[in-house]
Amino acid sequence: MLLIKCPVCGVEGEECDFHYGGQAHIARPASTDPENISNEQQRDYLFMRHNPKGLHFERWRCDRGCGKWFHAARDTTTHEFKAYYGITELPPKQLMQQATGSWAEYFADKIK
């Protein structure tokens, strides 16, 4: 039973009070250019997941609290939460630097 803290309303609660939303920072191609999406781009968006052993950027919803979605960075080998941040926000710079896979590409031009 994980202990999770919602960065929006500040409540600290148990895993069953929250809803997990999978990998974070996946761009939806149809939201930007719906006419020009290859089958592979659509596949990557729908299915390809980085799934690292270690630092994982993910989405949660404060289900039984304020109802807001938020981001978290968690280690998948220890369950340690490294950071919580808003659903429209980027992770702390230091974590962006540690990011791997598709996140590293996504964050590359945002680490300033």
Binding site: M1, E14, H19, Q42, G67, H79, I87
Partner: protein
């Protein structure tokens, strides 16, 4: 054996826990016996001369208890009868009560004479893993012959025979400090933490706090340890920051310091149960810090026939005498590797129990305990070891032990002396209880002084103190306890520790002859794993300790290897020439001791298992039918049979009444979500495949929701209440899912939209009134709404005095209204409709009639006609897929090659050639009928009913390229026959929709 000699005179501190003025009657295997208040079942049985308490798992060897704690592998019994029977309980931890019924397990026909002992006689042919090498011929014999025999012989206790009547509950708490274990170290930690103002929970699995303090030497503040324990326990119990829990085992440590503790509230007292107390209470604890003060478990010693009844741990022998005034026997031998054996010898001697000899594997040594034993006249033999045990026939009672000179690494024994005795106490050193440390991934390190593993690093906020941390002397235990409790202000008490001689470790005591092969050197007692088995596993290449464990079943019994783990590692080390620390340990998994399923279920079983979500007229349904089906969180009436009426007749009657007259359905379970804000229409255009921004205020439109994969996810009718305000309907099971889904998109993708999503399913009661006479019923009730409002429009107003939203929508194809009223008016409005409707013979209908009515009209049900792999095009709803909108959920995926391909399965109607033949649900059509399977299928029936309206069977099906095959006859191959059906349009009734447009 007579019972008398085993209860010692209760004087001079002998039998401190029992009250000789309070006899307690109980039974064991049907035999009436008497113990004393304060006894455990084990001490009372021994006091009655009942030494054998169980049979071992594999070889059915007679066994007695070896310990007084939760590490007990042998003395496992069943308690209680019938539905209240609980199997597999450790007799040494069962507190005796009047009328207790105990039964031995895993024996037939009786504990005394168990036919299973044949396994012991043939044990040589049944080494570890023998079953992997045989029972293979002929192939079917494993399942048909061998396995049933093995299954019958395996297992320990029997399950209760009926539903448990007792209560279980759970409690969720958080605390600053959780102290697991209330020995002196744990008590010190709790006291320090409490004084420094922290909120403390301290748990101990035993009824009494103090751990081993009452049978240990060493003083605190010049008083016996147990006096200090009592004083501090009272202090903790009174302290407002402290929750004191006895009979409570911290069973598991999970992520983020989440711990479970099982409190056995009333197992010891049937009166409490009778008065309504729960049997178990599961504490779910979130602790900022955990102090692990779980103590240490004494090791047994590995010698030939070391499992015989009457061979027990040194601490257990001492505890039996001092706590319960029960002699383990008349005369005992003590086999020791350290000073603990001497303490036991002295204790026995002082209580008047005979001590034949202390057999000490160490070289001659001196210490306070050793000197005291010698001074007391106890014979001590150094550099010696027990090499074997002589028993009566059947191995039920010990007659003597054989003793041989001992030197490390010396092999087979040649000269043995015989020492007559009827019990043996063994002291093999101590293993810290590190289970909790490891449950969530703490690391261990090897302590060569203890020859055991102790806690090392941990990523959680947990500290180990006392003997759990490898501290074996009183002063260090207390120091570590107070330090962990984190207070500097506190003055540590003065302790006096008895200095001990250095302990040795002895992992395998050689024997003479073939016994030296280790074939009777038991390691895991319950599972009958012997030293020879562990060696065999190494020899065969099952070298990883996990392989050894699985091959031999080591540590897989109810005690999970608490007693056997380190001894086994040591034998493996000897067999492979490795060092003990190189062998490693198997993984410690929760729970520390088994916990009841009842406690895990808590109050969530029974009525609260999945609470029924009730519509405002659920009570009315309960009075008018007993045929329900679970739908989402609800139970919906399936149909309303009249007395003597079959379900099918009731359904047909309900349907015809709608078609010919008027029916009423409780549609309150329909999901309702309000969408409000300037961007409401924009959101709906994104989440529905069809267009909603063009919907006029006061109008309704059917919509399809897809998931991002392009498949149909939900459907329903949406009404536009105002320019910026919509009410959407979802299917009954899906309202919560859809509301959450909309919210997710709104927050995570289209967060710039200015719109709110508000689920209002619970706020409105909603009833469908359908049939040619529907309007008459409403007219009769009186209304300010013009009831001639056109199909697919809505209005707000009053009907029969109730505020309503009135929707002219239809799922039956008849003239139909859906009335929604605030849920508080639901029952009254329902009653008013029924009253007004009685004039027109209004009939209530259930979900099955609803389904048939819609099927007659060819309306799909999401979940029947669709299954998560079906697109709008597949079900003939391409009209609901907007081409104008640049984007909506699922749009792009509809273009993925396989979804856009030709020849997909498409929704069609079916008329069976024989109109009376109703196709079974899910029947598959075949490309070609063959004599026998396999046959290639081309699609399946999604809905199939007898239509009382059309007086024939109808079905809907998803058939490969179906729409192009109209008029074709296809074959459904059933178990016993082929059913032929013609592919037709799925709208079977009133294709033009004249009936709903009146």
């Amino acid at each position: 054996m007579s019972g008398k000699p085993y209860r010692l005179p209760l004087q001079n501190g002998i039998g401190r826990r029992v009250d000789q003025t309070k006899p307690v009657s109980f039974s064991f295997d049907g035999k009436q016996m008497q113990g004393l208040a304060g006894d455990t079942l084990a001490s009372a049985l021994l006091a009655n001369g009942q030494r054998i308490m169980a049979r071992s798992f594999k070889y059915h060897r007679p066994r007695s208890l070896i310990s007084l704690g939760s590490e007990e592998p042998n003395a496992i019994v069943g308690i209680g009868e019938g539905a209240a029977h609980e199997p597999n309980i450790r007799a040494g931890q069962v507190e005796l009560f009047e009328g207790l019924v105990a039964k031995s397990q895993n024996r037939w026909p009786s504990l005394d004479f168990d036919i299973g002992i044949l396994n012991d006689m043939f044990s040589r042919f049944m080494p570890s893993g023998f079953y992997y090498k045989t029972f293979m011929w002929p192939a079917s014999f494993w399942y048909k012959v061998y396995e049933p025999v093995i299954r019958y012989a395996a297992g320990l206790g029997v399950a209760p025979d009926n539903r448990d009547q007792d209560i279980y509950e759970q409690i969720h708490v958080d605390c600053d400090v959780l102290v697991a274990g209330a020995g002196v170290a744990g008590i010190a930690a709790a006291e320090a933490a409490a004084i420094s103002g922290q909120r403390v929970i301290i748990c101990d699995e035993n009824p009494y706090f103090g751990g081993q303090a009452d049978i240990s030497t060493g003083m605190i503040e010049d008083k016996p340890q147990i006096d200090w324990v009592r004083e501090k326990t009272a202090f903790l119990a009174d302290h407002e920051n402290v929750q004191v829990l006895n009979r409570t085992t911290v069973t598991g440590a999970y992520a983020h310091n989440y711990l479970l503790a099982l409190q056995q509230v009333s197992d010891h007292d049937p009166e409490m149960i009778a008065n309504g107390a729960p049997r178990h209470r599961l504490w779910k604890i979130r602790a900022a810090k955990v102090i692990m003060a779980t103590g240490a478990i004494e090791r047994s010693l590995t010698f030939a026939n070391n499992d015989r009844p009457g061979i027990m741990l040194s601490g257990a022998a001492r505890g039996l005498v001092e706590r319960y005034g029960v002699a383990p026997g008349l005369t005992g031998s003590i086999f020791t590797t350290n000073d603990d054996g001497y303490r036991t010898a002295l204790s026995l001697k002082q209580a008047g129990v005979g001590v034949a000899r202390i057999i000490d594997c160490r070289q001659q040594t001196e210490s306070e305990a050793v000197n005291a034993a010698i001074a007391a006249g106890i014979e001590v033999q150094f550099e010696a070891a027990i090499s074997n045990v002589e028993t009566s026939r059947g191995g039920k009672s010990i007659e003597a032990v054989k003793v041989a000179p001992y030197q490390k690494n010396r092999g087979r024994v040649t000269d043995e002396t015989r020492i007559a005795c009827d019990f043996v106490a063994v002291a093999g050193g101590f293993n810290p209880v590190v289970n909790l440390w490891c449950h969530n991934g703490g690391k261990l390190k090897f302590d060569s002084g203890l020859s055991s593993f102790v806690p090392d690093s941990h990523h959680d906020n947990i500290v180990a103190v006392g003997s759990a941390n490898g501290a074996m002397d009183l002063a260090t235990c207390i120091d570590q306890g107070y330090a962990a409790g984190e207070t500097s202000k506190f003055k540590r008490p003065k302790t006096s520790t008895v200095k001990e001689a250095k302990a040795e470790s002895l992992w395998f005591s050689p024997a003479s002859g073939s016994d030296n092969e280790g074939i009777h050197h038991f390691i895991d007692f319950q599972h009958d794993v012997k030293a020879s088995d562990l060696e065999l596993a190494q020899r065969e290449g099952y070298e990883s300790v996990e392989h050894t464990k699985r091959y031999t079943t080591l540590g897989m019994a109810t005690d999970q290897g608490k007693n056997s783990n380190i001894n086994a590692m040591a034998v493996i080390a000897l067999a492979t020439g490795k060092k003990l620390e190189q062998v490693g340990t198997t993984t410690f998994r929760p729970p520390y001791t088994p916990i009841s399923f009842g406690a895990i279920a808590g109050t969530s079983a029974g009525k609260l298992f999945h609470p029924v979500r009730e519509t405002s007229v659920y009570g009315w349904h309960l009075k008018n039918t007993n045929v329900f089906e679970p739908v989402g969180d609800w139970r919906r009436p399936y149909c309303y049979p009249k007395p003597g009426e079959s379900k099918q007749d009731a359904i047909n009657r309900e349907i015809l009444n709608v078609r010919e007259n008027v029916g009423i359905l409780d549609a309150s379970t329909l999901g309702k979500i309000e969408i409000k804000g300037p961007d409401a229409a924009k959101l709906l255009d994104l989440v529905y495949s069809n267009m909603f921004s063009t919907l006029k205020v006061g109008h309704c439109r059917y919509g399809l929701m897809l998931n991002e994969l392009g498949f149909i996810s939900d459907d329903g009718v949406t009404a536009r209440l105002a320019e910026d305000h919509f009410l959407i309907h979802t299917t009954s099971g899906a309202s919560d899912r859809i509301a959450a889904w909309l919210e997710e998109w709104l927050q995570t993708e289209w967060f710039d939209l200015d719109v709110f999503v508000t689920p209002v399913t619970e706020q409105w009661a909603q009833f469908a009134i359908a049939g040619p006479n529907a309007r008459k019923v409403l007219e009769h009730m009186g209304t300010d709404i013009d009831l001639s409002l056109p199909f697919m429009t809505m209005a707000s107003g009053n009907i029969g005095g109730f505020p309503v939203r009135l929707f002219r929508i239809s799922f039956s194809g008849e003239l139909s209204y859906e009335l929604a009223t605030p849920a508080g008016y639901g029952q009254s409005l329902w009653d008013a409709i029924m009253t007004a409707g009685s004039k027109f013979d209004i009939g209530v209908y259930g979900t099955e009639a609803l389904h048939v009515l819609r099927a007659e009209k060819g309306f799909i049900v999401v979940g029947d006609e669709t299954d998560g792999t079906v697109t709008p095009h597949d079900v003939g709803m391409s009209w609901a897929v907007s081409r104008k909108k640049p984007d909506f959920i699922g749009k792009r995926s509809l273009q993925q090659p396989f979804l856009a391909a030709e020849g997909r399965k498409q929704l069609v109607g079916l008329y069976t050639i024989d109109p009376d033949e109703v196709l079974p649900d899910g029947a598959h059509a075949v490309r070609e009928v063959k004599q026998s399977p396999p046959m290639q299928t081309i699609g399946h029936v999604t809905s199939s009913y007898w239509s009382p309206t059309l007086k024939r069977s109808i079905a809907m099906a998803l058939i490969e390229n179906g729409r192009a095959r109209m008029g074709e006859t296809i074959s459904f191959q059933l178990e016993d026959r082929t059913v032929k059906a013609e592919i037709v349009d799925p709208v079977f009734y009133d294709k033009q929709g004249d009936r709903q447009n009146v």
